[in-house]
C-alpha cells in the first residue's frame, strides 16, 4: 500500500468521515472547512481562541474527556464526534449554567432577539434553567460618552477584551479577580469615562454576543457586527 507522505497535513475522522486537513489547525476549523457546524459562543473569527464557554466540546474516541474544539489542535488519527445526544446534553448544561450565573432577563435586555446566548438556548431547546439562579448585582457603567457596560449580562467570553487588544491594539479592557467575582474592567479598574486608553472604537460593542456592552441610543442590530475582527484581519494581511 502506497502512502502519500505530506508533512503539512493530518488525517482524521469527523463524524465517521475521513478527512485530510492542514497540520496545526484546530478541530473547530477542520470541521468548519468541511461543512460541519459546531456551536460556539466565545469563539470569534479573527481573534485568538479562548476556550472559555465550553459550548464547542467534542468527543474524541479513546478518551472519556470532552475537548473544546476551538482550542484543541487536529491531530493525526483522531476520531471525532461533534454531535451526539451526550454532547447535546452537555451543551444544554453549559447554556443553563451561563444563564444561571448572572441576571439574564431577556425581556428587559437591549439584545433581546439579537443575542447569541439566547439563540443558542433556542437551538438547544433550553426552555428553562434547572439550576437556582445567582441573581447577581454587578456594576453598570455608563460613564463613557456612548458605550455602556451592564456586567449583569456578561458571560465572560472575553471577546471584547480580545478585540480591544488584538484588533484595536488599545487593551483598555481586561478581567479582574477570579471565579464568580470575575469582571470586565477598563484600564486600572477605572470608570469607563476615565479610561484614557479607550479609543471609543466601538469594536467591543460590535462583538459582544449578548447585551453586556452596547451603544446608548443605537439599535442593537445596527451595532452588532460578528465579522468585524475577521474582516479587519483579512484587510490588514492583504495590505502587508
Amino acid at each position: 500500500m502506497s502512502r502519500r507522505i505530506d508533512q503539512n497535513t493530518v488525517k482524521l475522522r469527523i463524524n465517521g468521515i475521513q478527512l485530510e486537513v492542514p497540520e496545526g489547525i484546530t478541530i473547530l476549523k477542520a470541521a468548519e472547512t468541511n461543512g460541519v457546524e459546531i456551536p460556539t459562543l466565545c469563539e470569534l473569527q479573527g481573534l485568538t481562541p479562548y476556550g472559555g464557554c465550553r459550548l464547542c466540546v467534542v468527543e474524541i474516541s479513546g478518551t472519556t474527556k470532552l475537548f473544546p474544539a476551538c482550542t484543541t489542535p487536529a491531530a493525526s488519527g483522531m476520531e471525532i464526534t461533534t454531535h451526539s445526544p451526550k454532547l447535546f446534553e452537555y451543551r444544554k448544561l453549559v447554556l443553563q449554567t451561563l444563564l444561571a450565573e448572572r441576571t439574564h432577563i431577556c425581556a428587559v435586555c437591549v439584545a433581546n432577539e439579537h443575542c447569541e446566548l439566547q439563540a443558542q438556548a433556542n437551538n438547544h431547546g433550553v426552555d428553562h434553567v434547572m439550576y437556582e439562579r445567582n441573581w447577581s448585582c454587578e456594576e453598570v457603567d455608563s460613564t463613557h460618552d456612548f458605550l455602556v457596560i451592564d456586567r449583569n449580562r456578561c458571560i465572560l467570553c472575553t471577546r471584547c477584551i480580545r478585540v480591544c487588544d488584538q484588533i484595536e491594539g488599545a487593551h483598555t479592557l481586561d478581567l479582574k479577580l477570579r471565579g464568580k467575582n470575575t469582571n470586565v474592567i477598563m484600564d486600572q479598574d477605572q470608570k469607563w469615562g476615565d479610561a484614557k486608553s479607550c479609543t471609543s472604537c466601538r469594536k467591543c460593542a460590535k462583538v459582544c454576543p449578548v447585551g453586556a456592552i452596547y451603544i446608548e441610543g443605537e439599535m442593537i442590530e445596527l451595532t452588532k457586527d460578528r465579522d468585524i475582527a475577521a474582516f479587519l484581519t483579512k484587510r490588514r494581511n492583504r495590505q502587508k
Partner: protein, 180 residues
C-alpha cells in the same frame, strides 16, 4: 396520558402582568376548537373561587412572589396531572424577579413602594400576603412538567404545546421555543 373525553384545563395568574393570558386568548378562532376538547375548571377569566380536584392540565402564569401564591401553587400541583409554566415569569422569574438582586428584596420593594414615595404618614401595609424573600420561578417550588417560555409566549407556541398535550404527546421545544 389523558383519557377522558373532555380535558379538565385550569389556568392560574400569579405574579405576572396577565400578558401570558392575553397571549392565550390570542389563540383566537383556535379557542373554538379548543373549547370542544376542554372544560375550563379554573381561571382568572372564569370566576371560580376554589381550585378544583382532578385537573388534567394547569397553565400557570407568573412567578411565585408571596406566601399565598406559594400555597396556591402547591395546591394546584397536588390536584393537577400536568403542570405547565406559562411565560417567562413562571419559567425564569423575569421582571418579577428583578428585585432578587437586592438583599432582603421583600422588605426593600415594600419600603420603596409604600414608605420612600410618601411624605405623609408612610406605612407598610400588613394586610397584603407576605412577600417571599426572592420571587421564584415555579420549578424552584414544585415539579413542573412542561415549559412555555416567552415574554409573552407566542400564541402559536401555546397552541402547539396544548395540542400536543391534549393528544397525549410530548411537545418538542428544540428550535421552537424562544428563551426569554
Amino acid at each position: 396520558m389523558i383519557t377522558e373525553s373532555k380535558v379538565r384545563l385550569a389556568t392560574i395568574w400569579l405574579s405576572g402582568c396577565s400578558g401570558c393570558h392575553m397571549s392565550f386568548l390570542d389563540l383566537d378562532e383556535r379557542l373554538v376548537d379548543l373549547a370542544k376538547k376542554i372544560t375550563l375548571v379554573h381561571s382568572p377569566i372564569a370566576d371560580i373561587k376554589e381550585f378544583p380536584e382532578n385537573v388534567d392540565v394547569t397553565l400557570i402564569e407568573g412567578a411565585v412572589a408571596n406566601e399565598d401564591q406559594k400555597a396556591m401553587l402547591v395546591k394546584a400541583r397536588s390536584r393537577t396531572k400536568l403542570l405547565v409554566s406559562l411565560g417567562d415569569c413562571a419559567v425564569t422569574g423575569n421582571v418579577t424577579a428583578l428585585r432578587n438582586a437586592w438583599e432582603h428584596s421583600d422588605q426593600a420593594v415594600l419600603k420603596r413602594a409604600y414608605a420612600d414615595q410618601s411624605n405623609k404618614n408612610p406605612q407598610i401595609p400588613n394586610l397584603v400576603p407576605k412577600l417571599l424573600v426572592h420571587a421564584r420561578p415555579l420549578h424552584e417550588v414544585v415539579t413542573v412538567d412542561h415549559y412555555i417560555p416567552g415574554c409573552p409566549p407566542n400564541a402559536d407556541l401555546i397552541n402547539y404545546v396544548l395540542t400536543e398535550l391534549l393528544a397525549g404527546r410530548q411537545p418538542v421545544m428544540e428550535g421552537r421555543s424562544k428563551y426569554g
